[in-house]
Protein backbone atom coordinates (compact mmCIF):
# COMPACT_ATOMS: atom_id res chain seq x y z
CA UNK A 1 0.00 0.00 0.00
CA UNK A 2 1.42 3.35 -0.97
CA UNK A 3 1.64 6.04 1.67
CA UNK A 4 -0.67 8.97 1.18
CA UNK A 5 0.70 11.75 -0.98
CA UNK A 6 0.56 14.18 1.96
CA UNK A 7 2.92 12.04 4.05
CA UNK A 8 5.40 11.77 1.21
CA UNK A 9 5.27 15.49 0.74
CA UNK A 10 5.90 16.08 4.45
CA UNK A 11 8.83 13.69 4.54
CA UNK A 12 10.35 15.44 1.57
CA UNK A 13 9.72 18.80 3.21
CA UNK A 14 11.34 17.78 6.51
CA UNK A 15 14.36 16.35 4.73
CA UNK A 16 14.73 19.56 2.76
CA UNK A 17 14.33 21.68 5.92
CA UNK A 18 17.10 19.84 7.71
CA UNK A 19 19.53 19.64 4.83
CA UNK A 20 19.33 23.21 3.80
CA UNK A 21 22.36 24.88 5.26
CA UNK A 22 21.55 27.87 7.41
CA UNK A 23 22.06 31.24 5.94
CA UNK A 24 25.63 32.24 6.66
CA UNK A 25 25.59 34.49 9.70
CA UNK A 26 26.82 37.91 8.98
CA UNK A 27 30.29 38.09 10.41
CA UNK A 28 30.51 40.29 13.47
CA UNK A 29 32.76 43.22 12.84
CA UNK A 30 36.07 42.65 14.55
CA UNK A 31 36.92 45.70 16.61
CA UNK A 32 40.21 47.20 15.59
CA UNK A 33 42.85 46.84 18.28
CA UNK A 34 43.06 50.09 20.16
CA UNK A 35 46.65 50.96 20.75
CA UNK A 36 47.41 53.29 23.63
CA UNK A 37 50.24 55.78 23.48
CA UNK A 38 52.11 55.35 26.75
CA UNK A 39 54.22 57.91 28.59
CA UNK A 40 57.92 57.76 27.83
CA UNK A 41 58.68 56.11 31.19
CA UNK A 42 56.57 53.11 30.19
CA UNK A 43 57.98 52.68 26.68
CA UNK A 44 59.02 49.11 27.44
CA UNK A 45 55.33 48.25 27.57
CA UNK A 46 54.48 49.90 24.23
CA UNK A 47 54.73 46.59 22.28
CA UNK A 48 51.75 45.34 24.31
CA UNK A 49 49.66 48.49 23.94
CA UNK A 50 46.97 46.78 21.86
CA UNK A 51 46.47 43.86 24.28
CA UNK A 52 44.85 45.25 27.48
CA UNK A 53 45.52 42.40 29.97
CA UNK A 54 49.13 42.02 28.88
CA UNK A 55 49.66 45.79 28.85
CA UNK A 56 48.18 46.04 32.37
CA UNK A 57 50.54 43.34 33.66
CA UNK A 58 53.54 44.97 31.98
CA UNK A 59 52.78 48.40 33.45
CA UNK A 60 52.26 46.89 36.93
CA UNK A 61 55.73 45.38 36.77
CA UNK A 62 57.36 48.52 35.41
CA UNK A 63 55.92 50.53 38.30
CA UNK A 64 58.75 49.36 40.53
CA UNK A 65 61.26 50.98 38.16
CA UNK A 66 59.48 54.29 37.54
CA UNK A 67 58.71 55.27 41.14
CA UNK A 68 59.91 58.86 40.49
CA UNK A 69 56.90 59.33 38.20
CA UNK A 70 53.63 60.03 40.07
CA UNK A 71 51.74 56.83 40.83
CA UNK A 72 48.54 58.09 39.22
CA UNK A 73 50.37 58.67 35.94
CA UNK A 74 51.99 55.23 35.97
CA UNK A 75 49.09 53.14 37.20
CA UNK A 76 46.51 54.85 34.97
CA UNK A 77 47.61 52.29 32.39
CA UNK A 78 47.53 49.25 34.69
CA UNK A 79 43.88 48.35 34.10
CA UNK A 80 42.90 45.21 36.01
CA UNK A 81 46.30 45.18 37.78
CA UNK A 82 46.08 48.67 39.26
CA UNK A 83 46.48 47.26 42.80
CA UNK A 84 49.58 45.30 41.79
CA UNK A 85 50.93 48.43 40.10
CA UNK A 86 50.35 50.60 43.16
CA UNK A 87 51.95 48.11 45.52
CA UNK A 88 55.03 47.78 43.30
CA UNK A 89 55.26 51.57 43.00
CA UNK A 90 54.78 52.27 46.73
CA UNK A 91 57.21 49.55 47.87
CA UNK A 92 59.88 50.78 45.45
CA UNK A 93 59.37 54.46 46.33
CA UNK A 94 59.56 53.63 50.05
CA UNK A 95 62.68 51.52 49.60
CA UNK A 96 64.63 53.84 47.28
CA UNK A 97 63.65 57.24 48.68
CA UNK A 98 64.04 57.24 52.45
CA UNK A 99 63.06 60.93 52.58
CA UNK A 100 59.46 60.15 51.67
CA UNK A 101 57.23 59.99 54.71
CA UNK A 102 54.51 57.46 55.36
CA UNK A 103 51.92 60.18 54.88
CA UNK A 104 53.33 60.76 51.42
CA UNK A 105 53.57 57.08 50.56
CA UNK A 106 50.45 55.47 51.99
CA UNK A 107 47.91 57.30 49.78
CA UNK A 108 49.48 55.49 46.81
CA UNK A 109 48.13 52.21 48.20
CA UNK A 110 44.51 53.33 48.09
CA UNK A 111 42.42 50.78 49.97
CA UNK A 112 44.93 47.93 49.59
CA UNK A 113 45.98 47.11 53.15
CA UNK A 114 48.66 44.61 52.21
CA UNK A 115 50.33 47.40 50.24
CA UNK A 116 50.09 49.69 53.29
CA UNK A 117 51.47 46.92 55.50
CA UNK A 118 54.46 46.50 53.20
CA UNK A 119 55.09 50.25 53.19
CA UNK A 120 54.89 50.46 57.02
CA UNK A 121 57.48 47.66 57.24
CA UNK A 122 59.95 49.79 55.28
CA UNK A 123 59.94 52.41 58.05
CA UNK A 124 60.32 50.11 61.05
CA UNK A 125 64.00 50.95 61.26
CA UNK A 126 63.17 54.56 62.17
CA UNK A 127 60.87 54.00 65.14
CA UNK A 128 59.11 50.64 65.42
CA UNK A 129 56.77 51.68 68.20
CA UNK A 130 55.63 54.70 66.18
CA UNK A 131 54.74 52.22 63.43
CA UNK A 132 52.90 50.02 65.96
CA UNK A 133 50.83 53.05 66.93
CA UNK A 134 49.69 53.41 63.30
CA UNK A 135 48.72 49.78 62.68
CA UNK A 136 45.11 50.05 63.81
CA UNK A 137 44.38 53.01 61.58
CA UNK A 138 46.47 52.15 58.52
CA UNK A 139 46.11 48.36 58.31
CA UNK A 140 43.14 47.31 60.47
CA UNK A 141 42.77 44.03 58.57
CA UNK A 142 46.35 43.01 59.39
CA UNK A 143 46.66 44.85 62.70
CA UNK A 144 47.88 41.88 64.73
CA UNK A 145 50.66 41.02 62.27
CA UNK A 146 51.58 44.68 61.94
CA UNK A 147 51.94 44.99 65.73
CA UNK A 148 53.90 41.73 65.74
CA UNK A 149 56.39 43.04 63.15
CA UNK A 150 56.82 46.30 65.05
CA UNK A 151 57.33 44.74 68.48
CA UNK A 152 59.63 42.10 67.00
CA UNK A 153 61.71 44.85 65.45
CA UNK A 154 61.73 46.83 68.70
CA UNK A 155 63.08 43.77 70.53
CA UNK A 156 65.66 43.11 67.80
CA UNK A 157 66.98 46.67 68.13
CA UNK A 158 67.76 46.03 71.81
CA UNK A 159 65.42 48.64 73.23
CA UNK A 160 66.02 50.90 76.18
CA UNK A 161 62.67 49.81 77.68
CA UNK A 162 61.24 53.34 77.58
CA UNK A 163 58.54 52.00 75.29
CA UNK A 164 57.72 48.98 77.43
CA UNK A 165 54.37 50.37 78.64
CA UNK A 166 53.30 50.85 75.05
CA UNK A 167 54.32 47.27 74.23
CA UNK A 168 52.40 45.94 77.23
CA UNK A 169 49.32 47.88 76.08
CA UNK A 170 49.50 46.20 72.67
CA UNK A 171 49.93 42.90 74.51
CA UNK A 172 46.54 43.33 76.15
CA UNK A 173 44.94 43.03 72.72
CA UNK A 174 47.33 40.59 71.07
CA UNK A 175 48.86 38.52 73.88
CA UNK A 176 50.13 35.70 71.64
CA UNK A 177 52.13 37.82 69.24
CA UNK A 178 53.38 40.38 71.75
CA UNK A 179 54.02 37.78 74.47
CA UNK A 180 56.26 35.85 72.09
CA UNK A 181 58.45 38.89 71.41
CA UNK A 182 58.39 39.96 75.06
CA UNK A 183 59.63 36.48 75.93
CA UNK A 184 62.48 36.98 73.46
CA UNK A 185 63.34 40.26 75.21
CA UNK A 186 63.34 38.57 78.61
CA UNK A 187 64.87 35.22 77.68
CA UNK A 188 67.40 36.26 75.03
CA UNK A 189 68.36 39.82 75.91
CA UNK A 190 67.83 39.48 79.64
CA UNK A 191 65.85 42.71 79.75
CA UNK A 192 62.54 43.37 81.53
CA UNK A 193 60.30 40.66 82.96
CA UNK A 194 57.20 38.77 81.92
CA UNK A 195 53.95 40.13 83.42
CA UNK A 196 53.04 38.03 86.45
CA UNK A 197 49.40 37.52 85.41
CA UNK A 198 47.22 37.22 82.36
CA UNK A 199 47.58 35.71 78.90
CA UNK A 200 50.42 38.04 78.00
CA UNK A 201 52.43 36.69 80.92
CA UNK A 202 51.58 33.11 79.94
CA UNK A 203 52.76 33.59 76.36
CA UNK A 204 55.87 35.42 77.52
CA UNK A 205 56.88 32.65 79.92
CA UNK A 206 56.22 30.02 77.25
CA UNK A 207 58.72 31.75 74.98
CA UNK A 208 61.27 32.19 77.79
CA UNK A 209 61.01 28.46 78.51
CA UNK A 210 61.50 27.75 74.81
CA UNK A 211 64.65 29.85 74.42
CA UNK A 212 66.07 28.50 77.66
CA UNK A 213 65.74 24.97 76.28
CA UNK A 214 66.99 25.95 72.81
CA UNK A 215 69.03 29.18 72.88
CA UNK A 216 69.59 29.01 69.12
CA UNK A 217 65.97 30.05 68.63
CA UNK A 218 66.90 33.51 69.93
CA UNK A 219 68.26 34.15 66.44
CA UNK A 220 64.80 33.79 64.93
CA UNK A 221 63.03 37.11 65.25
CA UNK A 222 59.65 35.48 64.75
CA UNK A 223 58.94 36.16 61.13
CA UNK A 224 59.29 39.79 60.13
CA UNK A 225 61.78 40.81 57.52
CA UNK A 226 63.68 43.54 59.25
CA UNK A 227 63.97 45.88 56.29
CA UNK A 228 66.64 48.52 56.66
CA UNK A 229 67.76 47.29 60.04
CA UNK A 230 71.48 47.25 60.77
CA UNK A 231 72.74 46.05 64.07
Amino acid sequence: MRPPTEVLALAALSAWACQTPPEPAEAEPVPAAVSVQLPQELRRCQPYAADPPVLAYCVAGEASSVWRTPVDVVCAHAGQYADLCRQNWAAAAAKHDRTRTLDELLPACGSDQDCAFEVLDTRLYLDPLAIAARCAADVPRHEEDCIGHAVGFWVAKTPDLSGLDQVLAHGERFPGKVGYHLGTLVGCRELGACPKQGQLGDWCRRRVKGVTAAPATCQQPGGPTLVGWKR
Binding site: L10, V54, Y57
Partner: protein, 113 residues
Protein backbone atom coordinates in the same frame (compact mmCIF):
# COMPACT_ATOMS: atom_id res chain seq x y z
CA UNK B 1 -1.61 17.24 9.08
CA UNK B 2 -1.00 20.76 10.36
CA UNK B 3 -0.34 19.24 13.78
CA UNK B 4 2.08 16.66 12.38
CA UNK B 5 4.23 19.10 10.48
CA UNK B 6 6.23 20.61 13.37
CA UNK B 7 6.49 17.17 14.99
CA UNK B 8 7.97 15.59 11.87
CA UNK B 9 10.33 18.49 11.36
CA UNK B 10 11.45 18.27 14.98
CA UNK B 11 12.08 14.54 14.77
CA UNK B 12 13.93 14.86 11.52
CA UNK B 13 16.20 17.68 12.66
CA UNK B 14 16.78 16.88 16.33
CA UNK B 15 19.57 18.65 18.18
CA UNK B 16 23.06 17.95 16.93
CA UNK B 17 25.66 16.91 19.49
CA UNK B 18 28.13 19.74 20.05
CA UNK B 19 31.50 18.86 18.62
CA UNK B 20 34.42 20.09 20.69
CA UNK B 21 36.90 21.96 18.59
CA UNK B 22 40.43 20.76 19.04
CA UNK B 23 42.70 23.34 20.64
CA UNK B 24 44.73 25.29 18.10
CA UNK B 25 48.28 24.20 17.53
CA UNK B 26 49.94 27.20 19.17
CA UNK B 27 53.44 25.90 18.48
CA UNK B 28 52.88 26.21 14.73
CA UNK B 29 51.97 29.89 14.89
CA UNK B 30 54.29 32.71 13.94
CA UNK B 31 55.56 35.15 14.95
CA UNK B 32 56.45 34.03 18.47
CA UNK B 33 54.21 36.70 20.04
CA UNK B 34 51.18 35.16 18.30
CA UNK B 35 52.14 31.70 19.54
CA UNK B 36 52.64 33.07 23.07
CA UNK B 37 49.24 34.76 23.01
CA UNK B 38 47.69 31.48 21.82
CA UNK B 39 49.29 29.63 24.76
CA UNK B 40 48.01 32.35 27.08
CA UNK B 41 44.43 31.81 25.88
CA UNK B 42 44.81 28.06 26.39
CA UNK B 43 46.25 28.55 29.87
CA UNK B 44 43.37 30.81 30.91
CA UNK B 45 40.96 28.02 30.01
CA UNK B 46 42.69 25.39 32.17
CA UNK B 47 40.94 24.17 35.34
CA UNK B 48 42.47 24.67 38.79
CA UNK B 49 43.55 21.03 38.94
CA UNK B 50 46.01 19.64 37.94
CA UNK B 51 48.25 22.63 38.46
CA UNK B 52 51.10 20.87 36.64
CA UNK B 53 49.34 21.49 33.31
CA UNK B 54 49.20 25.21 34.12
CA UNK B 55 52.92 25.32 34.90
CA UNK B 56 53.74 23.33 31.76
CA UNK B 57 51.66 25.61 29.53
CA UNK B 58 53.11 28.73 31.17
CA UNK B 59 56.64 27.50 30.46
CA UNK B 60 55.82 27.30 26.75
CA UNK B 61 55.25 31.06 26.70
CA UNK B 62 58.58 32.62 25.82
CA UNK B 63 57.75 36.29 26.43
CA UNK B 64 57.94 36.81 30.22
CA UNK B 65 55.35 39.60 30.12
CA UNK B 66 52.77 37.50 28.28
CA UNK B 67 53.63 34.57 30.57
CA UNK B 68 53.07 36.75 33.64
CA UNK B 69 49.77 38.11 32.35
CA UNK B 70 48.63 34.54 31.70
CA UNK B 71 49.62 33.34 35.17
CA UNK B 72 48.08 36.29 37.03
CA UNK B 73 44.92 35.94 34.94
CA UNK B 74 44.71 32.24 35.78
CA UNK B 75 45.26 32.90 39.50
CA UNK B 76 42.51 35.55 39.45
CA UNK B 77 40.11 33.15 37.75
CA UNK B 78 40.93 30.30 40.14
CA UNK B 79 41.55 32.22 43.36
CA UNK B 80 38.71 30.60 45.27
CA UNK B 81 39.36 27.08 43.96
CA UNK B 82 43.09 26.50 44.02
CA UNK B 83 45.12 25.83 47.16
CA UNK B 84 47.70 28.52 48.03
CA UNK B 85 50.44 25.90 47.63
CA UNK B 86 49.32 25.24 44.04
CA UNK B 87 49.14 28.96 43.24
CA UNK B 88 52.61 29.36 44.77
CA UNK B 89 53.91 26.71 42.35
CA UNK B 90 52.50 28.73 39.48
CA UNK B 91 54.22 31.89 40.81
CA UNK B 92 57.56 30.14 40.28
CA UNK B 93 57.36 30.60 36.51
CA UNK B 94 57.26 34.39 36.89
CA UNK B 95 60.13 36.85 36.60
CA UNK B 96 60.59 40.40 37.82
CA UNK B 97 58.87 42.46 40.50
CA UNK B 98 55.44 40.89 40.03
CA UNK B 99 56.93 37.56 41.14
CA UNK B 100 57.56 39.09 44.57
CA UNK B 101 53.91 40.08 45.00
CA UNK B 102 52.67 36.78 43.59
CA UNK B 103 54.75 34.92 46.22
CA UNK B 104 53.69 37.34 48.94
CA UNK B 105 50.00 36.85 48.18
CA UNK B 106 50.25 33.07 48.22
CA UNK B 107 52.69 32.57 51.10
CA UNK B 108 52.20 35.37 53.65
CA UNK B 109 50.43 34.27 56.79
CA UNK B 110 48.53 37.51 57.12
CA UNK B 111 46.98 37.01 53.68
CA UNK B 112 46.05 33.37 54.27
CA UNK B 113 43.81 33.97 57.27
Amino acid sequence: MTVLLPLLLGLACGTPEPVAEPPPDCASLTPQATADRCWMDQLLGLPHDPVGAVVETARRIQDPVIRGAAVFGWIDLNATKSAPADAARVCEVLEGPNRRICDRRQKSWHLQR
